[in-house]
């Protein structure tokens, strides 16, 4: 490995302009994460217009900082008011909020920040050693391999929407359907444009993403707009004790790798990683009865995994242009829009960009710990922002973001439709990530599919085009069988231990 590129990346990340965007992203991300109902995906989606006119590297640094900043922030509201900022901070409520009830909110927030830092740093090292081999491997991919990779990624995302497989497939096909709107690049035929000139280029998936995540989220939050919780101003000591640190170190180090490897898998993201890290930690703990009552180990394990998963999910996004989570899907869209094409060639053509990002993530994690510990009083105040003022502002930013993408109010109609769809999908428990992922990869998938059918004389031959396609087909079958295996194992467990149920 050429270490001079890494050092160059460090110097680029330390340039004042990039440091400034890093700090702004970290603060904005933390605030977005703290505010209940606004997760990292919404935060990045709404703030995309900010990146217009910026240097690509600065834009990438800003978006990544918003992403992991939101993860740091998300656990603050979990700890303080028992309301997770997004799915990945649900596990932080289990023991974080009980710590607050015991008067240890400050300690819970500071040790959670340190856990996130260590988890994040471990994952950055994992990124350094895994991303390049993966990118080099992906250079062997042709149309058939890409088709199978897309099928595997989509099936993995659907399979991980546990209990909702049919709904997962349904939203996935819907996303693919939306991606077919516009001119077919191979034949030049206008498809499903309803004679609306603005739709000739297709529907910008960022508009759909903003609609589903931001507008849908705001509409969802209207349900409880009069019942906003406010935190207690008294957070106790900011510094955790030596005893708490001793208890925390092993769970942090154990959970980081769990989060990292799960983060790499498409669709698993921070929610599954943090919940799995929590349950693993609880299973091996000697003091199981303390979990759920304010055990510090129960807080740091999911925090470390969550932060680690965020870095892990950037690997498939940057090396293969396959987003692993909703937030990385939004980032992928935004990157393409500002002229950065993620994929294996990114590591060949723009190594400076990749290494600057990695170094900025390292610096950003340290900055976030400082922000989250030193500014804890201010962050508590953010939770006092009245939702009745906040959500109208989010709506204005969403419309503004949609307008700046295509300079047409046709996108406003699409935004509103996507918002209503997002609300209904959420209320009726349909997974959203398959739709978003399908929407993003749909066009490439079709183009590669058509090319591969010509090269290999038919769609079935794509499966056997190379050892890679066979391997990906096996992985697809395995990922789709996974929920069935879990179900069967669950039934067997019930049979073996009927009394425990």
């Amino acid at each position: 490995m050429d270490f001079s590129i890494i050092i160059d990346g460090l110097f680029t990340a330390l340039q004042p302009i990039n440091l400034m965007w890093l700090v702004i992203g970290a603060i904005l991300g933390t605030i977005v994460g703290i505010l209940p109902g606004l997760g990292p995906a919404t935060g990045i989606a709404v703030l995309i217009p900010l990146t217009f006119g910026m240097e690509p590297i600065s834009a990438l640094i800003l978006m990544a900082a918003i992403y992991y900043g939101a993860l740091f922030g998300g656990s603050r509201s979990s700890i303080l008011i028992n309301t997770p900022g997004d799915g990945s901070s649900i596990a932080a409520t289990f023991d974080g909020y009980p710590m607050t009830k015991k008067g240890q909110a400050g300690q819970a927030m500071s040790i959670a920040a340190i856990a996130s830092l260590i988890g994040g740093v471990m994952a950055i090292f994992g990124f350094i050693f895994l991303a390049i081999p993966l990118a080099q491997f992906a250079l062997n991919f042709g149309p058939a391999e890409y088709v199978m990779l897309f099928i595997f990624a989509l099936s993995a995302v659907v399979a991980l929407s546990m209990g909702n497989i049919a709904k997962g497939f349904l939203t996935m096909f819907l996303g693919l359907g939306i991606s077919t709107i516009g001119v077919d690049l191979q034949s030049g035929v206008h498809r499903f444009t309803l004679d609306v000139p603005h739709l000739t280029d297709g529907i910008d998936f960022i508009v759909i993403i903003i609609g589903i995540y931001a507008l849908g989220e705001v509409l969802y939050n209207m349900f409880n707009i009069n019942k906003a919780k406010k935190p207690d101003q008294n957070i106790g000591s900011k510094w955790f004790t030596k005893e708490q640190w001793k208890k925390s170190l092993a769970p942090i180090l154990r959970s980081g790798p769990i989060g990292f490897f799960l983060g790499i898998l498409p669709g698993s993201g921070g929610t599954i990683s943090s919940l799995l890290a929590y349950s693993t930690q609880k299973q091996i703990a000697k003091n199981k009865e303390e979990y759920g009552k304010g055990a510090v180990e129960g807080l740091v394990a999911p925090e470390s995994a969550n932060s680690s998963a965020a870095v892990g999910s950037m690997i498939p996004m940057l090396t293969m242009a396959i987003p692993g989570s909703g937030a990385t899907a939004v980032m992928l869209g935004a990157l393409i829009m500002i002229g950065i094409q993620p994929g294996p060639l990114l590591f060949e053509n723009s190594p400076d960009l990749v290494w600057t990002l990695i170094n900025s993530m390292f610096i950003g994690n340290i900055i976030l710990v400082v922000i989250n510990i030193a500014m804890v009083g201010m962050l508590v105040k953010v939770l006092h922002t009245p939702p009745k003022v906040l959500y109208p502002l989010v709506l204005v930013l969403s419309f503004l973001g949609a307008y700046t993408l295509g300079y047409s109010t046709v996108d406003f109609y699409i935004l509103i439709l996507a918002g209503v769809l997002g609300l209904l999908l959420r209320v009726l428990n349909y997974p959203v990530v398959p739709l978003i992922l399908a929407l993003i990869v749909g066009n490439d998938m079709e183009q590669n599919f058509m090319r591969a059918t010509v090269i290999y004389d038919g769609p079935v031959s794509i499966l056997f085009a190379s050892p890679i396609t066979i391997g990906l087909a096996v992985l697809t079958i395995l990922s789709l069988s996974y929920p069935l295996i879990i179900k069967l194992l669950g039934r067997r467990k019930k049979k073996d231990h009927p009394m425990t149920m």
């Binding site: 006119g53 049919a166 497939f169 209207m222 349900f223 109208p392 509103i416 209904l424 009726l428």
Partner: protein, 149 residues
């Protein structure tokens, strides 16, 4: 409540049927295989139709009454607030290009704030509306050089 639960699978079935009709109305490709632009959409259309029907069948196993969110959305008060907010969004869409960003945003944001936050907080509502509208207009038009109507 059941109508809302039914809405999505039924909507998706209708969408897949309309999509199917539109696929058969597509112009054939001038170069290469004439039906090439139809193949991928046909697979998608079948997928939407099959899984919508599966979802509809699976609905029988679901206990709709256990879905708290659905119960909340089915309330008249929630439907009213969601409907009014969406109504403001539609009006904003209609007036945006005619009145320009600044005036339409002041009207949209002001209306939302007065509706959600109440008339009692009129100073806060007015100041947030004006500051937000001018700050975003200035940031986008001058700092980011993005032209707004």
């Amino acid at each position: 409540m059941y109508i809302i639960r039914l809405s999505l699978p039924v909507l998706f079935i209708v969408v897949s049927l309309i999509y199917a009709v539109m696929i058969f109305q597509l112009q054939p490709a001038m170069l290469g295989e004439p039906n090439a632009p139809r193949y991928f959409p046909l697979i998608i259309c079948s997928g939407i139709l099959i899984f919508s029907i599966v979802d509809l069948i699976n609905m029988r196993k679901e206990n709709v009454r256990q879905n708290e969110d659905l119960e909340m959305l089915s309330r008249k008060s929630t439907l009213k607030i969601v409907g009014i907010v969406l109504g403001f969004c539609l009006i904003y869409t209609l007036i945006f290009e005619h009145l320009g960003f600044l005036i339409s945003t002041i009207l949209f944001l002001g209306a939302l704030l007065f509706y959600l936050n109440g008339v009692k907080h009129w100073i806060l509502n007015l100041s947030v509306t004006i500051i937000t509208a001018f700050t975003t207009w200035y940031t986008f038009s001058f700092l980011l050089e993005i032209s707004l109507p």
